[in-house]
Every structure is written in structure tokens, then in C-alpha cells.
């Protein structure tokens, strides 16, 4: 067994008195509280964790943190399945069940591994090159099945997520020694300070060492009131210092909702100043078969030993390109791991402190790794040539140098510069609003990092410019990475199976810009976003194109820094809360009458009131027929209502509507249409005059928001000298509509005052009244074409009026009717519905509403656009009525009108279509080229391969003289 648990005192994070059992690919294993899944797997000697993305190579744990490219698993089942979880971050829990991703039938025997044998067919950009004959689409399904990572959950997420907003004077991201120092200094200078720690402990890279300086800083932070937020990782820096972070809710804090679990919180933090203290990642080296299970980052092996008490192997070889390798070697040796050699590829690397007693080979590199599913040894050779030597190790550690985590700095818009001596990119000064400290600023010397972070924290707390970072302390690291002249695959990007030769191929084929390199080879993509591959990829590109890494440059880092669960972003905006619906004031009353509710825009409304066994269409036909014969009751409460008042109210409404409204007498109402500046229809409605300076404006239900918004915009931005106030009152008033020849008889039976009778109150007039102490605002108007009363009353009283009316319905033979019956009747009358019959090109003249424009003296919105030649083109699409020649076949909405079947130039389309209960025939509205001059013409209507012959008829279909609305 190569990897194993070390004896105490190793393992400062684990609690050996608290064992946990878990399964991996069905195998029962055990670990301790405090383990991650990765540390527990290593402790159990499990090396082979998964298979690679493209070539299905065996892979193991590579890192000990967020940068993990290989050791991903799927956990949970069904709704709670979570794919592609990094084992290196996943806390071990009792009963955890994890499965390898991306292998079938199993991680040990994987059919897809045959891909490895076919690697020659899978170079960078292979989908542009191979599998082209006879047709890529023949191969695509199989290739797609073999690609991809974990499997998505199969049911809606059962868990909960929430969102937290926070603000701070100074936000510090990262709670290592530099982050702690910055936070303490900021708080000491009086700033409200928020400190984010991605793990469950503060201390960063020192958190498992019981470091006295870290302990002192942490104590100071608590005393000074720094708000410390554990398990919270910043993933994005956005405009104006908005930082987003995810918090993994601890198991103790998670069980606060019965039946579901609070999993993660999204933090949206707005800070006056942001300090990034994100640390550094380790840069691996390239050598043949550097992806085998048992090859990993040196810093990771160090952390597994110290924090988790896990030896990742028994005999290690360290592939080195930096001084830090020797510190790791000494630390591992002390923990009981035998170090066979430090193989330092730097020529003449000076022995440093801690190297005493170690076997050091300088100017030497690994030329082969032995063992496929687990490292069994390696061959090393001097770079200059010379004798090869085989080392019988079971662990190979990469110590290639530092890669400061400049991601947040780059997201914030900061620039980078290349430090050649240490082969690393560091921030080139502070980014707007964000200052880096510690290792992510390129300050690797601890004392310098602490004092710089302290100065930065204090300066930002006081609103002063932060001091420059004393970059240094990383030691010498060569900007060279691969081994030349040897056989075998040298991996740049483990997650995407990108080889050094793929980068060479991209260079040969002129994909030389870093942005092209990334997209052509896929290096730096995927869940790890190239955290351990980007720098090596661009060093290689530099090598192949004779440029320095600084000349090659980096891709711009974009959020998120690490994968974010979609549920975390969505938060509580799921299900019924995704788009809350508005309900009628008398919703429950309608439900009691058997209403069939449907969603219309933002509203949940009765579509119809079907009797037992009746379809929606049949109910709508019955309801419409009853309204025309007798009377019906409709809840029109969502109708938009505005009050417009002030000395300039009349002048303002003339400006907004096509019609002239200033000439309305008090109590009179008029239909009007609203245009935008392109002259196209935005909304229609009825405007009534309540008094000299006060108007009642009904908009369409769907058009209320855009009408109210347009009114405000014109008043506030353009006609700023107009003295007008606009009050939206839609929810204040319910609207109960009573329509049909016996509508007045019905209202009169309830004791409505005689002044409202049709004889004394004409069509298109409005009157305030009182009924049984309820104040009423009654408008005589009609969207059904029958005698109609729109009774507006305070919303709370709607159910009372409905109940009283409905008590008289049976003796009258009246009905309730819903939206569907209303649609049937308005189409019979040829009344347009804005947004159904019209679209973003429809002008008032196209639907017969241009009357009076020539005579109108006052200016109005959209007027100039109506004077364009195109607006006056007689062949524009115009509203017509259509009926099928056979008198039977409905004309489907959306069907195209053309002499020939499609594909053909269309002459128009059907916009609304219903069976007319009055005529017993299908009727339709359509927009037709030059339609106003084509009455009587026979046309062909095409729909999904069928053709229906139809005739253009004059509108309306019902009651052409219009006598009924007058009662």
C-alpha cells in the first residue's frame, strides 16, 4: 500500500476519536472527522480515483485544494446527486457515497481507455480534422458519450440555497497570515472589516502548523471585531467593488429547515476597499507520464502529512525547479516519508537550509515514470546527457515554483508582470478597488508579507493609497518546463488531457495568441480552469515561438474563480417564487364557482368556468353565447388604471394618445391608442374625464406597466414643465364587468341608481355612484360588443358585489365568463388585442385607427414617424377579417397567407382565430398586405403542410351596425 495514515501527532485537522465510514465505487472505507474525501481515500491506500477526460488515463489525487484537476467524483443520488465534486475540498461525512466520474463500467476496467490507444486520432482540435469522413455526425454521438465529466442530477434539487447581502469598509479575501495581518490592521484603524476564509480554519498555508503568529493575529482579529466568515470562498469581483462568494453551510447550520437542507449561501459583498490575500498555487513540472496516480504537487503531499496525517507514499522523489522543494522534503522526511532524491532540473542549484542529508541531483530531470495505475518508480538523467538511473519510488512530487493566485486581481481589471527570476506572474500594482497582499501579490517572504499586508490594511482603512508590494522571496525558478528529446506523453493540462505536443501543434498551426491556444487545445478549460496548467502552457508557447512568457501573456481571468453551484446563484427564486403571480381580489370566490385558472401575463385569472365534463373551448362558446343572448359577469380587475391630474393633464394626454382627449367633456370617455416614437402601437385603452383637471385612464392589462412607464418618462425627461401627477391605482379598484342585453336589468335588480340606466347614461360615459355604501365608478364601455357596464369599486368589496350579482344570475339565465369567452366576442367584433394582432411594426393606420390624425392640431408621440413614406405605403400589412370558404375549417393562428405553399413570399398571417358562436362559423383576424382594399378576395392559408382556402371579409363579423352596445 503506497499511501497510508501516519501515526500521531501528524494530522492536526483530524479527530481520530471520531471515525466515519463511507463508500467509494461501492467499496466500504473509513476515515476520520476532519478528513476530506481525498485524504480519506489516500489514507485507505486508494490511488486510482478516476479516468481522464479524453484519453481515459488512470488518475489519482493531484492536489490538496481548489486547483484539483483529476480527483473529481459524483456524490449522492437522484435529486441530491452532485457531479464533479473535488475530493480535495469535500469534507468527509458519515455514509458519504462517492463514485468515480467518467469511466464505464468501472474505474479499474474502463472501456474508454481504448481511446488512449487511439491518441494519434485525437490531437488538439481533432474535431476539425479527424472523424470527418464520411460525416462527423456519424461519430459525434459516440464521442460525446465518451467525453464529459460527471452525470447531472435526475430530479429538481431538494436542497435550499439563500442569498446574503453584506457591506464592509474593508473586505479581506483569504485568511492566511497576510490576510489576517491586513484585517487586523484595517480593524485597528477603525474600519468595519470582513474577512473570508475559504476553509474551516484561519491560517491558510500555515493553518495546520499551530503557528504562534497566526494564533496571535486570529485572536487580535476577534478582539477588534473583525467579522470572520469561514467556509466562504470569493469567486468573482464585479463592478464597483462587488465581490460574490459562496459559503458552504456547515452540517450544524444546515438542518434548520425541516425536510430539506440549506446547502450554500451566496454572499454579495459591497466593500469600499478589497484586499486579496489568496495565496499562491504550485506550478508542476512536465516529464513523461507525469499524470500517473502517485505523481502530485509537493505542497499537497506536505499538507496531507501535516493536516490529515496521511503519507501519500513511502518512498518519494521530488522533481524540483525551486528552493521550496527542499523545505517540503525536510518536512516529509520528518513525518516519516523516505526521500530518495530531490531531482532539481536547475543547473548548479545551491544547497539550501534543510537539504542536509538529502540526496540532491542538480541539472537532472525525470525521463520516465514507471507503473500505469500507480507509480512504481522513475528514471532520472542529467539534462546535459549522461548516465540514467532508476529510482524505486512510489511517490513523485512536483515542486516547479510558485504561481501567485492573481485571478481576483485580474478580474478586477489589474495588469500582470512577469518576474523572470522566479518564473511567475505577479500583479503590476493594485487593481482598481482591489489590492493584493501576501503570496498572491508575489510577496513570498513571510516577514515582508506580514508587514506589507499590515501597511495595506491600515492605508485602505484610512482611505489612503496602498504601498507597493515588495515582490520577492520566491527564490530562483527556471522558466522551462518540459523535458526535450524523450518519449512519452508530457501532460500540460491533466483535466483536458492537453500534451506538450498539443501546444507545439497549436504553435505550428499558428494558434499562437494565448486566447487561441486556450480555445484550440482546450488547455485551461473545465472545472479547474487551468489552475496548475496555464503558466506551463504559456511558457511552452513561448518556447515554441521564441518569446518570453511575458510576451506570450495570459488570458484574462474571468469569474468564477472556482465552480459555483447553479442552485446557489438561483437561491430562493425557484418554483412558485420564480415568478410570483398576481391574483384577483376575489380569487377565492372564482375558485368556489369552479373557475379554470390560467396564467395571462403576470396574472392568474379564470379562463372559463367549465361545467362537469365540459372542455375549455365548449365552456367559452357557451359563455359567449349566453352573454350575447342574456348577460354575463366578468372580473376585469387586472385592467390597468391610472389617475392623471393637474393643470396640464389634458394637454399631456393629447401628447400621449393619437386621439384628442382635451375636448372630452366631464363624464365622457374616449378610446385611444398610444404610440412610441417609431409610430408603432404600444397600448390602447379608454380615457375618461373626471373633472377639468383630472382623468381616469384605463390601459390594457398587459400594457399597464409600459404605459405608466412611458407617461413618467415623457413627464420627467421631456415635458418637464408640465404640471401633471400620475397615480397608478390598478390594485386599488376592482373592475366587475356586467355585459349583455339584460345587463342593466341585472344591475337594477340589485338597486343600482336609475341614473346609470342606459337611457340616462350613454355608451362611453363614466359616472361616480354609490351602491349599498360602496363607492362606485361606473364606466359604460364594451369589449364584447354588447351593452356593458364596467363597475369599479374598492378591491376589498369585489367579492361582495360578485356574490350579490351571482345570486340573481339563475333567475336571469346569466353566466360567468372568462378570458376565453371575452376573446371569442372581441374577435367577432373585430376588436384588436395589442401584442396579439399587432406587433412591433404595426402603425395605427394598419388597424384602422388613423382617423383624426390629419385633423389633430396638437403634437403627439409618434406623429413624425407616421409621415414617413413607408408609413403611408398602401401595401403595408393591414387588419382584415378572414373566413374559411368551406365554413368549417378553423384558420390556425400563425398560419401564413400566400398563393403558393411555403417556402414562398408571404402576404400576411392569421393573428386571432375562434369559432363564432353567433354565426356558427370559424372566424379569424389577419394582417394582410394591402388588406383594407382586398375585401371579398379569396386567398390560400398554409399551415404545417395543409392549405385552407379563405375569403377576406369586412369587419366586424357580428352586429356590423353596432347598435347593441347602446342597449
Amino acid at each position: 500500500m503506497a499511501s497510508r495514515r501516519l501515526p500521531q501527532p501528524a494530522g492536526t485537522w483530524i479527530d481520530r476519536s471520531h471515525p466515519l465510514s463511507f463508500t467509494f465505487n461501492g467499496r466500504k472505507l473509513s476515515g476520520f472527522r476532519g478528513d476530506t474525501l481525498a485524504s480519506a481515500l489516500l489514507a485507505n491506500g486508494v490511488r486510482l480515483v478516476g479516468r481522464s477526460f479524453k484519453l481515459h488515463r488512470p488518475r489519482g489525487v493531484w492536489s490538496c485544494g481548489v486547483e484539483e484537476p483529476s480527483a473529481l467524483v459524483d456524490i449522492g443520488q437522484g435529486a441530491r446527486r452532485t457531479p464533479n465534486v473535488r475530493t480535495t475540498l469535500l469534507p468527509l461525512a458519515e455514509g458519504l457515497a462517492a463514485e468515480s466520474v467518467h469511466c464505464w463500467p468501472g474505474v479499474g476496467f474502463d472501456v474508454g481507455a481504448l481511446a488512449g490507444a487511439c491518441a494519434a486520432l485525437l490531437p488538439a482540435g481533432f474535431y476539425y480534422k479527424t472523424f470527418k469522413w464520411p460525416n462527423w455526425h456519424w461519430f459525434e454521438p459516440a464521442i460525446r458519450r465518451m467525453a464529459g465529466l460527471g452525470r447531472a442530477p435526475t430530479a429538481p434539487d431538494a436542497d435550499h440555497y439563500e442569498e446574503v447581502a453584506a457591506d464592509a469598509d474593508v473586505l479581506v479575501i483569504g485568511a492566511g497570515v497576510a490576510g489576517l495581518a491586513a484585517a487586523v490592521a484595517a480593524a485597528r484603524a477603525g474600519a468595519r472589516t470582513l474577512l473570508l476564509a475559504s476553509g474551516a480554519q484561519v491560517g491558510g498555508a500555515l493553518s495546520f502548523d499551530a503557528d504562534p503568529e497566526v494564533a496571535a493575529l486570529a485572536a487580535s482579529a476577534r478582539e477588534l471585531g473583525v467579522r470572520i466568515q469561514l467556509r466562504t470562498s470569493a469567486f468573482g469581483v464585479y463592478d464597483h467593488n462587488l465581490v460574490c462568494a459562496t459559503e458552504s453551510v456547515s452540517p450544524e447550520g444546515a438542518a434548520d429547515l425541516p425536510g430539506c437542507v440549506l446547502r450554500e449561501r451566496l454572499w454579495k459583498i459591497r466593500a469600499r476597499a478589497v484586499i486579496a490575500a489568496a495565496g499562491a498555487l504550485e506550478r508542476p513540472l512536465l516529464f513523461p507520464d507525469n499524470d500517473r496516480p502517485g505523481v502530485m504537487l509537493a505542497s499537497a503531499a506536505h499538507k496531507y502529512a501535516q493536516a490529515f496525517g496521511v503519507a501519500c507514499g513511502q518512498r518519494a522523489v521530488i522533481a524540483a525547479n525551486c528552493d521550496g522543494a527542499y523545505r517540503v522534503a525536510a518536512s516529509l522526511a520528518a513525518a516519516g516519508v523516505e526521500i530518495l532524491a530531490v531531482v532539481d532540473r536547475r543547473e548548479g542549484a545551491a544547497p539550501i537550509a534543510g537539504a542536509a542529508g538529502l540526496r540532491v541531483l542538480t541539472g537532472t530531470t525525470l525521463t520516465a515514470v514507471h507503473g500505469a495505475r500507480s507509480v512504481r518508480g522513475c528514471t532520472v538523467a542529467p539534462l546535459a546527457g549522461g548516465r540514467r538511473e532508476r529510482l524505486h519510488c512510489d511517490l513523485i512530487l512536483n515542486a516547479g515554483g510558485y504561481a501567485p493566485a492573481v485571478h481576483l486581481h485580474s478580474q478586477a481589471g489589474g495588469k500582470l508582470r512577469w518576474v523572470a527570476e522566479s518564473a511567475m506572474f505577479v500583479p503590476d500594482g493594485a487593481a482598481p478597488g482591489l489590492t493584493s497582499v501576501g503570496a498572491c501579490a508575489g510577496v513570498l517572504a513571510r516577514a515582508a508579507a506580514v508587514s506589507h499586508a499590515t501597511e495595506v490594511g491600515e492605508a485602505l482603512a484610512r482611505g489612503l493609497a496602498p504601498p507597493q508590494a515588495p515582490v520577492g522571496g520566491a527564490g530562483r525558478s527556471d522558466d522551462i518546463t518540459r523535458v526535450p528529446g524523450v518519449r512519452g506523453k508530457q501532460f500540460v493540462d491533466l483535466q483536458n488531457d492537453v500534451l506538450a505536443e498539443d501546444v507545439a501543434l497549436a504553435a505550428r498551426e499558428n494558434y499562437r495568441s494565448v486566447e487561441h491556444l486556450k480555445r484550440y487545445t482546450t488547455t485551461g478549460m473545465g472545472t479547474d480552469q487551468g489552475k496548475t496548467s496555464n503558466i506551463n502552457a504559456l511558457i511552452l508557447m513561448g518556447e515554441y515561438t521564441s518569446q518570453t512568457p511575458a510576451q506570450v501573456g495570459t488570458t484574462r481571468f474571468r469569474p468564477p474563480f472556482a465552480p459555483v453551484t447553479l442552485g446557489t446563484i438561483v437561491g430562493r427564486r425557484v418554483g412558485a417564487l420564480y415568478r410570483p403571480l398576481k391574483r384577483l381580489p376575489a380569487h377565492d370566490w372564482h375558485a368556489a364557482q369552479g373557475a379554470l385558472f390560467e396564467t395571462f401575463g403576470d396574472w392568474c385569472r379564470p379562463a372559463a368556468y367549465p361545467r362537469t365534463g365540459e372542455t375549455l373551448d365548449a365552456a367559452a362558446q357557451r359563455e359567449a353565447a349566453t352573454v350575447r343572448k342574456c348577460a354575463g359577469l366578468f372580473d376585469g380587475s387586472p385592467l390597468g388604471k391610472l389617475e392623471v391630474y393637474g393643470p396640464d393633464a389634458a394637454r399631456f394626454l393629447d401628447l400621449m394618445y393619437v386621439g384628442t382627449l382635451s375636448t372630452l367633456r366631464i363624464g365622457q370617455a374616449r378610446y385611444g391608442v398610444l404610440l412610441n416614437e417609431n409610430g408603432t402601437l404600444v397600448d390602447d385603452g379608454i380615457v375618461a374625464r373626471l373633472s377639468e383637471q383630472r382623468f381616469w385612464v384605463n390601459t390594457s392589462t398587459a400594457g399597464f406597466d409600459r404605459t405608466a412607464t412611458a407617461f413618467e418618462e415623457w413627464l420627467q425627461c421631456e415635458y418637464v414643465d408640465f404640471k401633471v401627477l400620475i397615480t397608478p391605482v390598478t390594485s386599488r379598484w376592482a373592475n366587475i364587468t356586467v355585459a349583455g342585453p339584460r345587463a342593466w336589468e341585472w344591475l337594477a335588480s340589485l338597486g343600482f341608481e336609475a341614473a346609470l340606466a342606459p337611457a340616462s347614461m350613454p355608451h362611453m360615459t363614466l359616472r361616480d355612484s354609490v351602491w349599498e355604501s360602496h363607492p362606485l365608478r361606473v364606466l359604460r364601455a364594451s369589449f364584447s360588443g354588447e351593452l356593458g357596464y364596467e363597475v369599479n369599486l374598492p378591491a376589498d368589496h369585489a367579492a361582495a358585489l360578485l356574490t350579490r350579482l351571482w345570486a340573481h344570475a339563475e333567475e336571469l339565465g346569466a353566466t360567468l365568463y372568462g378570458i376565453e369567452a371575452l376573446q371569442v366576442m372581441r374577435v367577432e367584433k373585430g376588436y384588436i388585442h395589442i401584442g396579439t394582432d399587432t406587433d412591433g411594426t404595426t402603425l395605427p393606420g394598419d388597424v384602422g385607427l388613423a382617423r383624426g390624425i390629419e385633423r389633430k392640431a396638437a403634437p403627439f408621440v409618434g406623429h413624425r414617424s407616421l409621415l414617413r413614406p413607408a408609413s403611408r405605403d398602401p401595401t403595408r400589412l393591414q387588419l382584415v377579417g378572414l373566413m374559411p370558404l368551406d365554413g368549417r375549417t378553423p384558420l390556425p393562428v400563425g398560419a401564413q397567407i400566400a398563393p403558393e405553399p411555403p417556402p414562398a413570399l408571404t402576404e400576411g398571417h392569421v393573428t386571432s382565430s375562434y369559432l363564432s358562436p353567433e354565426l356558427g362559423l370559424p372566424v379569424a383576424l389577419a394582417m394582410l398586405k394591402g388588406g383594407s382594399q382586398r375585401t371579398g378576395e379569396e386567398l390560400r392559408v398554409h399551415h404545417l403542410g395543409t392549405m385552407i382556402e379563405a375569403r377576406v371579409v369586412k369587419l366586424p363579423f357580428v352586429d356590423p351596425a353596432g347598435g347593441r352596445v347602446h342597449g
Binding site: Y238, H240, P432, E712, E713, R864, L867, P869
Partner: protein
């Protein structure tokens, strides 16, 4: 996400606001020719630099106001009333 300072409500997240596009546009009158009218309706400058635009606190008080914003850095150089003249730095 930007933060804008509503003159009535103070600093709020961008998601509470709606941008109404370029401000200080002069509307030609009815006698303008078609080309001039078309220019007014459909053509806008897209500067790399300071842009004067109008915003509405749509999910708040409903107030319209003008903003001078740098399109590259999203720096808000000033917030001023609809009736105010363009600021000097434009």
C-alpha cells in the same frame, strides 16, 4: 454590478435601475426631413469613454436622472438632474 446613486434614495445596486440610453438628445420637429428624423430615431454614438445617459430607479422611487459614466471602467463621474446641463467633464 454597478452601484448608482439615485438622487432621491441614495446608492443602490444597478439591478434596481433601468437604463434609458443616451440623454440630452434633441428631438427634431415635424418639419424635419426623413433622414434627420431617422438619424434621431436610430443612430447613437457608442463612445469609448464618457457617455451621458439617463437612468430610472425603476424598482425604487421611479425617478429619472442623468449619469455621466465611463464606458470602459464603468466609473460614474456624476449623477445630475434631468433638467441640468451636461457636466463639464463630458
Amino acid at each position: 454590478m454597478m452601484q448608482l446613486k439615485c438622487p432621491w434614495c441614495g446608492s443602490r445596486d444597478e439591478s434596481e435601475f433601468v437604463c434609458g440610453g443616451t440623454t440630452h438628445l434633441i428631438r427634431p420637429d415635424l418639419t424635419a426631413n426623413d433622414a434627420t428624423w431617422g438619424e434621431y430615431l436610430f443612430f447613437r454614438d457608442n463612445p469609448k469613454g464618457v457617455h451621458l445617459e439617463r437612468w430610472r430607479h425603476a424598482y425604487g422611487c421611479g425617478q429619472w436622472f442623468n449619469v455621466a459614466r465611463h464606458t470602459l471602467t464603468h466609473e460614474v463621474l456624476s449623477v445630475y438632474a434631468m433638467t441640468d446641463p451636461p457636466p463639464a467633464h463630458s
